[in-house]
Amino acid sequence: MTAETVLTEMPSLSKLYVNAAATAARARLTRPALVTSLPARAVEVRGVRADLAKLTEFAHLMGEPARDILPSGYLHALVFPVAMSVMVQEDFPLPLLGMVHLRNQVQHFVPVLFSDELSVRAWARDLSGHRIGTQVQIVAEIHNAEGTELLWRGVSTYLAKGVFLPGLDKPSPAQPRVDFVPPAPTAQWQLGVDTGRAYAAVSGDFNPIHLSVLTAKALGLRRSIAHGMYAAARVLATVPQAKPHAFSWDISFDSPVFLPATVSLEVLDHRTDDGAWLSSEFTAWHARSARKYFSGTVWAGCA
């Protein structure tokens, strides 16, 4: 990164969403100049700290004990306003509202405590074509206050459906759909219609597609959908806590979880002969239709 924008404080997500909505409305009227490349600036915020009350609510919503060490999903929520600031820059080529989440790849290098002062930095990369639109990766990194040690790194892949930019690689043809045969579930989640609102309250992510049927419909979805990070954080809450200090996880979303939903899950643990945890693989699907929702892996180390 050659240039960066340093913000003096954590941006307000609600303002970012309002700005994004205003931009979207303006775009309908004025057709802004087409941007086909990513801004070269990173956005940085220093002096970031966890909100202890929100952190506690977050862990309890995920069904895990609230510790002094921040859960992975909470770290994602903590850096999300910075990531979003990247996507609302005027020269960002894709519309923020209505974008869907395809994948998260996260590395935890060092445990982060609620009392730690943090520096957060985010930027966009890898704008590329997708079968049904254009995708982009947002990289977010958390360093210690001095910026000398990398603690956490998350790469989120988003898709702007129906947006095709000139000059990008021709999207590869649709992969033939592999029939998903659901395994025997190890768990089941009953997600009520308020799941999106509950996660919004603890994460601050009030994206309208998660809040209600009406707000989701306004953005072209038939119902509201669960946050991808809610799903990821709940899975992470169930994998063994014998996780070493450094661990990684990767989740890919196949289809949105329309609310309300009954989600079936399989989590498979892999251990050494001594019983030490190595990794957990997880898959989730719609309990009745067997439509696959998401799958991924959590593993020891940051490789």
Binding site: L52, A53, T56, E57, A59, H60, E64, P65, A66, R67, D68, F114, S115, P240, Q241, A242, D274, G275, A276, W277
Partner: protein, 453 residues
């Protein structure tokens, strides 16, 4: 007394290495871990029992390298417990780094929960049923369960059984505004309607315990606990949580003069004779504690320290309902029985850990032991049971200063005493010996003897 046995049968298929039939072996305290205790509504106001018990467990696991270890059994409990937490301890184990194959159970004996967990698990170790154990306790007065009123609860249950819409409407129409006031837990005794403080105020007055004596005991508790922190006594007994690294109730700068200024809060109908204040009573507190127990072989095989041996324990209860004895006086009966069974007297004890539910509780117990009539008519002795050297009492502070998260106090006492005994080593050529005494709601008390290793 326990007798050492040759342990170590290596039968394939047996889970423990303990001798299964040949007598009993020793159970030892390896160490403990607790989180600092916080006054209710403070640093842990939004932390659940499971959060705090898990935090205490996490710290214990980290201190003794127990990740992925299958412990013989974990037993802990909470006095104020949500009904959803029916498996509180097992859930905390599953959320910890211990092997998921570690069994756990909840127990509850009011304020004696933690000590009873230590005694019960030690007995299993002594019998060779398990080789290792974690005893614990947790309580939150901040995150206390609040239930719907009894009237509403009955209506809701009827509603869930109703078949037709008509029935449902009929049952729902029974709900009245009065049903909506919630039912919060209290420290009141169900059979007397008196709070624990009011009960103790009666006992304090009965044994003619002065306000000055109570304030002095409270002052000593704060002074001793502050000194223990300054001397780094708690460095290997405690893991910070939620930004706290000391018990938040501790007032290092308090004085007898400051304590003397507080107004009585219990027994106010006694008028000028009222002596119990917020300063010489324990505050409502949040916190959790754990203790790692083991057989000698298990500890040795893992190169773990051995601080003390859990020698013996005893429970007692008094008939307090119509005032025959004070609510919190059961330890006055349990200790003489326990010492007699072990062939000991008060003079054979080097450290006394008498839980300070109220300063009046400790002083009433000591007064009863020094009373000739109590000794002859109630304890069946030739005279008074005896008196103790106050320099041996709660030397690193106790509940008046640290606070008292009900079920967590036993674990705090056992871990601290075990460490004190280990540091003391031998006295007159025998292992240093300590006595723990905990009074509990319902007129109960649990006491135990520990010996230095």
């Amino acid at each position: 007394m326990t007798t050492p046995t040759a342990a170590g049968s290596e039968n394939v298929g047996t889970k423990t290495t303990g001798a299964r039939s040949a007598g009993i072996r020793k159970a030892v305290v390896v160490g403990g871990n607790r989180i600092p205790f916080a006054r209710s509504g403070g640093a842990y106001a939004h932390s659940s029992n499971q959060d705090m018990l898990t935090a205490a467990l996490d710290g214990l696991v980290a201190r003794f390298g127990l990740a992925d270890e299958e412990i013989g059994e974990v037993a802990a409990g909470a006095v104020l417990k949500h009904s959803r937490d029916f498996n509180l301890t097992r859930e905390a184990v599953l959320g910890s780094a211990l092997a998921a194959t570690t069994p756990a159970y909840d127990l509850q004996q009011a304020c004696a929960t933690g000590l009873e967990a230590v005694i019960g698990l030690s007995n299993k170790i002594k019998l060779g049923q398990i080789d290792s154990a974690i005893a614990g306790g947790v309580d939150s007065a901040s995150d206390a369960p609040i239930a719907v009123s009894e009237g509403l609860r009955t209506i809701l249950l009827d509603l869930s059984r109703a078949k037709s819409l008509g029935d449902k409407v009929k049952i729902a129409s029974r709900i009245r505004p009065k049903h909506l006031s919630p039912d919060a837990p209290s420290t009141g005794e169900p059979r007397t309607g008196l709070s624990m403080g009011e009960h103790q105020a009666l006992t304090t007055a009965q044994w003619k315990i002065s306000r000055e004596a109570q304030d002095e005991l409270a002052f000593a508790s704060h002074k001793n606990l502050a000194a223990a922190y300054d001397n780094h006594f708690f460095d290997d007994l405690l893991t910070p949580f939620r930004g706290l690294s000391r018990d938040s109730n501790l007032r290092a700068d308090t004085s007898v003069e400051k304590l003397a200024k507080l107004k009585p809060v219990f027994g106010k109908e006694l008028g000028d004779a009222a002596t119990m204040t917020a300063g010489n009573s324990t505050p409502l507190t949040d916190g959790a504690s754990t203790v790692l127990l083991a057989s000698e072989d298990w500890a040795a095989a893992r190169d773990l320290p051995v601080l003390a041996e859990v020698v013996d324990g005893e429970a007692a209860a008094v008939d307090f309902v119509h005032g025959k004895d004070g609510l919190l006086m059961a330890p006055a009966f349990a200790v003489p029985r326990l010492l007699a069974r072990n062939g000991l007297t008060l003079d054979d004890i080097d450290y006394f850990e008498i839980h300070e539910a109220f300063a009046g509780t400790v002083l009433s117990t000591l007064a009863a032991w020094e009373d000739e009539e109590f000794g002859t008519t109630r304890l069946g002795l030739d005279g008074a049971f005896g008196s103790i050297d106050r320099a041996k009492l709660n030397v690193n502070g106790s509940s008046l200063a640290a606070g008292h998260p009900f079920a967590a106090t036993g674990g705090r006492l056992v871990a601290s005493l075990a460490k004190m005994l280990h540091e003391r080593g031998a006295v007159d050529g025998r292992p240093a010996r300590g006595l723990i005494s905990v009074c509990a709601a319902g007129g109960q008390g649990v006491v135990a003897i520990l010996e230095a290793r």
